[in-house]
Structures are given as C-alpha cells and as structure tokens.
Symmetry: C2
Subunit: 239 residues, 2 copies
C-alpha cells in the first residue's frame, strides 16, 4: 500500500490538487501534518475534483513521528546536494527508479511532501528512509508542490492503478487486411496509369508509410474502400 | 522544437501552472487561443513561479488555424473512445509513446491543451495531427488541466531539458573500497567473538545487504571507519 503525507502545507489548494492526483492515480490514504484549515467551501475542496467526496474528507491528521513509525517513508525534494558528502538529500532516487524499486519490497510506503516554499526541512528529511527527486531543468528545477506530487503519483501509477481508462492496446489491422490494402493500392496505380516503371517504387513508398502508422482495422478498410472506388472510376469494371 | 498551446482556458491560474511546468521542463514557447485576461497581479502570474518573468509575458495570442498551419499538432484528451470506430480521439498515444516517437521526426511540434471542463471539442481535435491521452484510474481518469500539462511535459523532459539539476549519476564506491569494508566487517566479527561457525553466513548476509544498496564512497568509508574503531575497542592492537 502507498500512502501520501503532506507536511506543513500553507495553501489549501495544494492539498486539494494532491487529493485529486491521488484519485486520478488510484491512491486513497492521505495524511496531513500541521495542515491549514480545510473549509468545505474553500480551495482544497474546490481543487480536489471528485476526490472531494472521499480522499479529502477521509484524510487523517497525524505527526511525522507517527508516519516514520508506521511506514517506509520516502521524502521528496526539489533539489539535491550535488555530491556525496551530505547525507540528508543524497543519495536520491528519481521517480522512475522509485517506481522500479518499490514492487520488490513488501511494505507500506508513505510519500512525504513538504511545504510550498522550503519543502521538507533537513531535520524532517533526516528521519525518512529514502529520498526522491524529480529531474527538471537546471535553470529552474523547483516544481510547485501540487505539480511535484502529480508527477510522482503519475510515475507510480503502475503500482497503484488497478485499471486505466484506456483500452488494453490500440487495435491494429491484421496482416491480411493490410496486404489487401496494398493490393488495392497497386490496382489503383494501374487504373490511374501511374508510370509503369515507377509503380514498384511507389508501392514500396506506400508500404513504408503504412508500416510506420500501424493502421487500425477501420482505417485499413476505409482506405481500401476509397482506393477501390477510385480504381473503379478510373477503369470501369465493364471496360 | 516543442511549443505548448492552451485553447479556451477559463482559469488564469491554470495558464500560470502550465507556464511554470514549461520552465521546469525546459520549454519556452507558449501560445494562447481565446485566453482569459491575464492580470500581472492575478493568479496566472501568481501560479507561474519564475516563469512569470519569461514564458508567461512572452506568450503569443493566436488561433487554432494558425497553429495547425505552423506545427505538427498533438491534441490532449483525458478520456478516449474505447474502440476503433471513431477517429476523433482514436488511435491515441500515451505520453511515453509520444516521447519515444517525437525524436524520430524533425518537426516543430505543438502540444494543444483544451478547456478546464470539456477539454478540446471534437471539431478542434479533428484538425490536429495526433492525439495523446494520459493513462489514469478508470474510476476517475479526468486530470485537472494544469496537472495534465505537468505530466505530459515531465514525460517529454528528455527531449526538452538540456541539463537537469541532478548530478549525472549517483556516485558509487569502487569495488576495492567495498571489499575493504567487507574485510573490516569480518575483522569485527572476529574481534567481537561472533560464533565462529556463523561468521561466514553473517559475512554473506552483510555482502548481500551492501550489494543491494550500492553504497557511496562516503558511506563505505564511514562504515568501515566505525567497524575499525569497534574492532579496536573489542581487541586492542597491543593485545
């Protein structure tokens, strides 16, 4: 199980944004340390989308010490010390590395996010088990709190989302249908009197284009139908 | 070059959030179609972080038609039709698939985001070249506009961020240092009279633990120093 904790946030809107991202990416357990007041008519609920119905009202107020006792804790920092001499924010994992490492361990994990401007303090980070840092532009690596949480929860989605809104795979036409399209294209080239010496080359060009696009069954059938009609217009069947 | 366009947004704060994410992930060219008024004292600038200094004031107001003419356009949708019969939102790429496919093509690309509640209309999407959709929980796949843009720009960062804030790799101790640590650990086991028949097993346990953790040079040296001190206390050198 993966939980989320927000420590010392000042802006209710950010807590709402985090609650929404949690629901978008299949999480539900939200802990708040020293939260601002969350007015049901205010920004936290306004930013939470449909997480206003569950994640946000079910959030638990707690302390960092209790989280450390209960969870494998992962602190988040925007920037990291750039060398190995300091051990508060280093070594760190990227979100991808965290996503790859968590499934190997059976543990309840809590992702801990800090304050808007200063993040987690060194004293808080020192109590946590791991550190994660989102790679961003060296010119401006500091993400907004809600945006940082959204990116991290997105990256962990394969551990937390049971079922996505997407179909399992994009349906691709089978080879027989695609070969039928190519045959129809060659028929069209003949019907429109495309120069005979260029037909092979043009057919290969079309094969490469279709090969890159991985057409759906409907795309393949529709295009084949268009080419058939065009071929018929160019050389009527009773000719 | 990758640009970003926001069509018909109602909330200035979302435009500020998108501008901030652009700067975090190395982008600068922002286009606005039918934007709300962006008051320099208002939410767009308030949410933009340091992008209030460049990305946001340099944004260009334009039309969708001009974007379509100028760019390879990629529309973003929260949900997709679940089958191949409709071609407005299908086939789609995931952000990962988009990131993998864009480098293969030399083109100016524009990521097009829609309105807060309804996104891009079917008529708008029909004009765009590709569709991208973020995988999320089937229960609640609708991301907030600013959060969706943040995720997509994060996913494209390897194409757009010239240099991140992270050191290139986490520095790992070299093997010689790590073997030195293991020798010191074995010395410690002897010094503290760890049962002789268990020493080999305990040393292997410690080797596995260290092997998984990939220690930094400093971690390795520090731990070796601690073990040396402990060994000396347990069996003084003049003994």
């Amino acid at each position: 199980m993966i939980a989320v904790a927000v420590v010392g946030a000042e802006t209710p809107g950010n807590i709402g944004t985090i609650a929404r991202a949690m629901k978008n990416f299949g999480l539900s357990e939200l802990y708040l340390v020293d939260p601002p007041e969350l007015d049901p008519e205010g920004e936290a609920y306004g930013f939470a989308g449909s997480a206003r119905e569950d994640v946000l009202p079910n959030a638990t107020e707690t302390t960092l010490a209790e989280l450390v006792e209960q969870f494998h804790t992962v602190g988040t920092t925007a920037t990291t010390n750039e060398d190995a001499r300091k051990h508060v924010r280093y070594p760190f994992k990227t979100p991808e590395e965290l996503a790859a490492s968590l499934p190997a361990v059976e543990t309840d994990t809590c992702l801990v996010f800090g304050r808007e401007r200063v993040g987690l303090t060194n004293a808080e980070l020192a109590q946590l088990d791991e550190v994660v840092s989102i790679p961003a532009s060296a010119d401006y690596p500091v993400l907004n709190l809600g945006q940082a949480a959204t990116v991290l929860l997105y990256e962990l989605r394969e551990l937390t989302v049971a079922e996505t809104q997407h179909p399992e795979t994009v349906e691709r036409a089978d080879e027989r249908e695609i070969e039928g399209l190519h045959e129809q294209f060659e028929t069209l080239l003949t019907a429109v009197n495309h120069p005979e010496e260029k037909r092979g080359k043009t057919a290969r060009l079309f094969r490469r284009l279709i090969g890159r696009a991985h057409p759906t069954p409907r795309e393949t059938r529709t295009l084949r139908g268009v080419f058939r009609r065009a071929s018929e217009f160019a050389s009527p069947p009773d000719e």
